[in-house]
């Protein structure tokens, strides 16, 4: 049974990538919900590993599956409460980035993470997020502007406020 699965090329690829996948999922669900994140990864990899015949890169499909499972999770629970509980982290600056990311709208957060954290190109990100490239780019741009705003204390909704001097 499990011996059989071990030998499938998909599950080997997924096994190799498991830490990256878990890293992405943990960042996606928020700082204190690591168990939820690991459960998402487990479900996603199990699904991909047993569907060897489907086309496409198994890794992208596993990331895509995590994204879909998380979207459903958020839809069902309303706004994820874990996001608010981000505890004290020794590294202030990075902790604040993590906190800012966790309050960012989900569509922007998942886009930014697929690209900036997991290192996928825009086309692959489009496949993972099930979005056209143009939407990937615009969400990415919004996410970065929002982070910039948070870092310089400018409210993200206030449009194109710029420091001129």
């Amino acid at each position: 049974m499990s011996e059989e699965r071990k030998s499938s090329p998909h599950s080997e690829a997924l096994h190799e990538a498991a830490p990256e996948l878990r890293r992405f999922a943990r960042a996606l669900v928020g700082p204190v919900a690591t168990r939820t994140a690991d459960a998402l990864v487990q479900t996603a990899t199990a699904r991909i590993a047993t569907s060897d015949r489907l086309p496409g890169d198994p890794l992208e499909r596993a990331f895509g599956e995590v994204v879909r499972l998380n979207r459903r999770r958020v839809r069902e629970r309303g706004r994820a409460p874990e996001a608010q509980e981000g505890g004290a982290d020794p590294d202030r600056r990075d902790a604040s980035i993590a906190a800012q990311m966790s309050t960012m709208p989900l569509d922007e957060r998942e886009t930014l993470l697929v690209i900036a954290l997991s290192g996928f190109g825009y086309e692959a990100a489009g496949r993972i997020l099930d979005l056209p490239m143009s939407s990937v780019v615009s969400r990415l741009m919004r996410a970065r502007v929002r982070l910039e705003g948070a870092q310089t204390g400018v409210a993200p909704r206030s449009g194109h406020l710029r420091v001129v001097k």
Binding site: P9, H10, E12, A13, H15, E16, A17, A18, P19, E20, R22, R23, R26, A27, T34, D57, P58, L59, D91, R93, D94, A95, I97, A98, M101, L112, L113, I115, A116, L117, G119, F120, G121, Y122, A124, V137, L140, M141, R144, L147, E148
Partner: protein, 271 residues
């Protein structure tokens, strides 16, 4: 002139993420040298990317890796290397190299623009040579240390190792507690002699000594890190380095390069 051709906001993002063709990336680098405001934006996004990378560390692998097995086990020694994961790694490497190349290009352009004028320098800065030289050094330095460790210990007639492999499980546990190395890698047709713990920039490295069926000694140095493939050769001793699962490995020995290469490949070094 092409250097001044308009660059869109989306292209600036694509530049940061390594998504532009080489020509377009160069054009953007020229643009940035002339438009410091955009340069600051780009730097800001890069800093964001770095902060995101730091804020979410890669979790440790919890299951044992398929690459290595306990010395007493009969399981075949295989490294899972599928096209998918190789593609994934190649993408990441390419992205990293491109952003380094781009960073180098910008640096060269800013400096050059003052002295010579942007147009002339753009051609010269297209060379990526210094980038590759820099990427190679950290791993090569690690490979050099493996050669040195081989020279110091493998040739010691009395005490080449601290703990011998008469009790493999005990040796494995001893090294695991000190270095975090989960399994003692096995080399086909070689006998594990034993191991040592060596200092490694504030951490501990595991030094494992093997004797090949043909009589030569090879040493495997393993320490936490991710410096990726490198090599070193000096005074008849060579080493090959690679990274897997949060560890750097370097295999050293006084062997022909091809032979060393094939043993390293058997241990999981990418070809």
């Amino acid at each position: 002139m092409n250097g001044a051709s308009r660059v869109s906001e989306a292209e600036l993002h694509a530049f940061v993420d390594g998504q532009l063709s080489d020509e377009r990336a160069l054009a953007v680098a020229v643009w940035l040298a002339e438009h410091p405001r955009d340069g600051m934006k780009v730097d800001g996004w890069r800093a964001q990317n770095d902060a995101i990378q730091r804020a979410f560390p890669t979790p440790a692998r919890e299951r044992m890796t398929l690459a290595f097995r306990a010395p007493e086990s009969d399981a075949p020694l295989t490294m899972p290397a599928t096209p998918a994961i190789e593609d994934y790694r190649a993408r990441r490497r390419r992205r990293h190299t491109l952003s380094l190349a781009a960073a180098f290009a910008i640096g060269a352009l800013v400096a050059g623009a003052m002295a010579l004028g942007v147009r002339r320098v753009a051609v010269h800065s297209a060379s990526t040579e210094p980038v590759f030289a820099e990427v190679a050094t950290a791993a090569d330095e690690f490979a050099r240390r493996a050669v040195e460790a081989w020279q110091t210990y493998a040739q010691d007639p009395l005490h080449p190792v601290e703990v011998d492999a008469s009790d493999p499980a005990g040796l494995a546990k001893w090294l695991r507690e000190r270095t975090g190395l989960l399994r003692l890698p096995a080399i086909p047709e070689a006998r594990l002699i034993g191991g040592r713990v060596l200092p490694a920039h504030g951490e501990n490295a595991a030094f494992l000594l093997y004797r090949l069926a043909s009589g030569e000694f090879v040493a495997l140095l393993a320490e936490p890190g991710a410096r990726n493939p490198g090599a070193f050769a000096g005074a008849g001793v060579s080493a090959r380095a690679w990274s897997a699962d949060g560890f750097d490995y370097a295999l050293a020995g006084a062997l022909p390069e091809r032979r060393l290469e094939s043993i390293a490949a058997g241990l999981g070094r990418p070809l």
